[in-house]
């Protein structure tokens, strides 16, 4: 029995990731992906998805005609993303690399938009600072950055209720997929510190998500 638990923990389950995220988000994750794609993607727009996982946002952008690149360090997740793209007949470039390898994989000023969903909160602060600097490098002047992450309600009472509502779903998601997400605060500040302009933070219409949008300034 301990052996089963052990395998369960070892086993990464990219093919169950999508299902897990739907449970954790109370079925709002597809709406979030659509929302992100609607804001940045369009025909011919070059989009980089940092930490693309199984390609939820990447493919939502591709459906709108964007030329998408998905970057993730997990080969298994990328295999699922590839299979999903193929099933829909969508073209995308998939890169197996960690966030700390952005400098090796992404040429300066080669994207019109950079998007990242539920990935920033997985990073250490120093990694996030690096990723944001590299994201800025990767963008053309005026290019757009759009980040989405889980966020807890602002009021203490709201936070408590949110924690209680979330606990069973979080446990279920962890059992099914071994995935956890960590809500984070202060993302907009970090984006500003990385040299972005027009930084705006808002609550996503669907679910407990926070959206941070920004631009790379034209003067640089």
């Amino acid at each position: 029995m301990s052996s089963y638990v052990y395998m369960k923990l070892l086993e990464s389950t990219p093919e169950r990731y999508d299902r897990g995220m739907r449970i954790l988000s109370g079925n709002t994750i597809d709406g979030l992906w659509e929302e992100l794609a609607k804001r940045i993607a369009g025909p011919g727009i070059r989009v980089l998805d940092i930490g693309c996982g199984t390609g939820g946002v990447t493919l939502a952008c591709a459906r709108r005609g964007a030329r998408v690149t998905g970057l993730d360090k997990d080969a298994g997740m990328l295999a699922v993303a590839r299979a999903k793209a193929q099933a829909e007949g969508l073209t995308a470039t998939w890169v197996e690399a960690g966030v700390m390898e952005l400098e090796d994989e992404v040429a300066p000023s080669s994207f019109d938009a950079v998007v990242s969903s539920l990935a920033m909160s997985e990073l250490l602060p120093e990694e996030r600072a690096y990723a944001l600097r590299q994201a800025r490098e990767a963008l053309v002047p005026g290019g757009r950055l759009l980040l989405a992450d889980e966020a807890a309600p602002i009021t203490p009472l709201g936070r408590l209720g949110w924690r209680l509502r979330r606990a069973p779903r979080a446990a279920l998601t962890w059992i099914l997929t071994g995935q956890r997400t960590h809500p984070m605060d202060g993302l907009a500040e970090e984006v500003r510190a990385a040299g972005f302009v027009d930084v705006e933070e808002e609550r996503a219409p669907a679910g407990d998500f926070i959206l941070v949008s920004a631009r790379r300034g034209r003067d640089t």
Partner: protein, 389 residues
């Protein structure tokens, strides 16, 4: 630490150690390391980092703690949770490059199932070497001027570690038996039955590696275990309660069921045998495509079981102890010429490409990501072709 805190830490490091427990990744100074101190790397499993810190006391070194999701190095690397991406990440984010003048990183040898050494070198310019397989050998390795002895490449399974593993198996296996026995036959019989099972589990681990745990003969071990546990329990129960057919039958059944639970994957929790649950009973063996081998011998360095050896005359590697192979896949992942692969009993092959993409994680994603069909055709031809390109 407070007493309850200490107790919880003890629980975490013993009975609950199959669960991941993460400590913060990043750079740690051991002693007072200077710009020429060696740089070692490990995963962020709390128990490992604690033990490393203890074993390296009195030495000066930099320790890079990579994010392995709180899982030990060997299991994390084998499950795809500790890869070259995580090594590159901590090399760059920790700022170690500014602290030392050299560019030499020592990885734990057991990370070789997941970390592709050459990719780290190409991307970061650091020279990457394989340190000893076991952390107790690190002080001697450092004192010797950072050279690994052949014996430090091989996995040992000392008695104290076997007892730790028995302590991990025994409660899980006996708890259920105890509850069932208690409800059927009362507290003393439950205690006797569960105790007998626990004694046999400790005895099996004490007797390793002299008992077979792999192949068909492993059933002798488990059958023997069931018989001994039953006899122990029945003898003790008869001494207390007199002969009772119901007691004899139930105690025998409980011992048998406990041994069946053990047989699920006792072998996989030792460093001496291949996992049985991981392959779903489909046996596979290591194959060397000798025409591709150029004798760089990365595989010999990372094998923890002394399976591979360099043939000095032919300047090629040979498989010298096929029966000792535990199918960890480290040699397959590290070979720069793709000269090693696995072949299943039914003739299908597992290529280096597939193993690098999915690690040895067979129960999980390989079955889904790589359906059986792709394991046979082009890939098989590619693995067995004399040269790549």
């Amino acid at each position: 630490m407070t007493l309850p805190g200490r107790f919880l830490a003890w629980l975490r490091d013993t009975l609950l150690r199959m669960f991941p427990h993460a400590t913060r990744p990043g750079l740690r100074a051991i002693g007072r390391p200077g710009p020429n101190a060696p740089v070692l790397l490990s995963g962020n499993f709390t128990l490992t980092v604690d033990r490393l810190t203890r074993v390296l006391r009195g030495r000066d070194a930099w320790l890079l703690v990579a994010d392995s999701h709180g899982i030990n190095v060997w299991c994390a690397a084998g499950g795809g949770h500790l890869t070259h991406h995580d090594v590159i990440a901590v090399l760059r984010s920790s700022g170690i490059g500014e602290r030392v003048e050299h560019r030499h990183l020592w990885l734990p040898q057991l990370a070789a199932t997941g970390v592709e050494r050459r990719i780290v070198q190409e991307r970061t310019g650091w020279r990457v070497g394989w340190g000893p397989a076991r952390l107790e050998d690190l002080p001697a390795f450092l004192d010797r001027g950072q050279r690994v002895k052949h014996s430090e490449r091989l996995m040992r399974f000392p008695l104290w570690e076997r007892m730790e593993m028995a302590l991990l198996w025994a409660p899980a296996t006996t708890a259920i038996a105890a509850v069932v026995l208690w409800s059927l036959l009362g507290a003393t019989t439950a205690f006797i039955g569960a105790g007998s099972i626990a004694v046999v589990i400790f005895a099996i681990f004490a007797a390793l590696p002299r008992l077979p745990l792999w192949g068909g003969s492993r059933w002798f071990t488990y059958a023997g275990g069931a018989v001994v546990a039953s006899l122990l329990a029945i003898t003790a129960d008869m001494a207390l309660h007199g002969p009772n057919l119901l007691h004899i039958g139930v105690l025998g059944a409980a011992s048998t069921i406990a041994m069946l639970v053990l047989s699920l994957d006792l072998a996989g929790t030792t460093p001496l045998y291949p996992s049985t649950i991981n392959t779903r009973g489909n046996r596979f063996d290591l194959v060397l495509n000798a025409e591709r081998c150029t004798g760089v011998a990365d595989c010999v360095q990372v094998c923890p079981r002394d399976v591979l050896a360099m043939d000095g005359k032919l300047r090629r590697v040979r498989i010298q102890r096929p029966d000792a192979c535990i199918r960890c896949g480290a040699c397959v992942v590290q070979c720069p010429e793709d000269a090693l692969f696995f072949r299943f009993a039914d003739g299908r092959t597992l290529s280096p490409t597939q193993i690098r993409a999915t690690r040895m994680n067979m129960l999980g994603r390989r079955a889904v990501v790589l359906p059986a069909k792709t394991l046979s055709t082009e890939d098989q031809a590619a693995a067995e072709a004399p040269r790549r390109d």
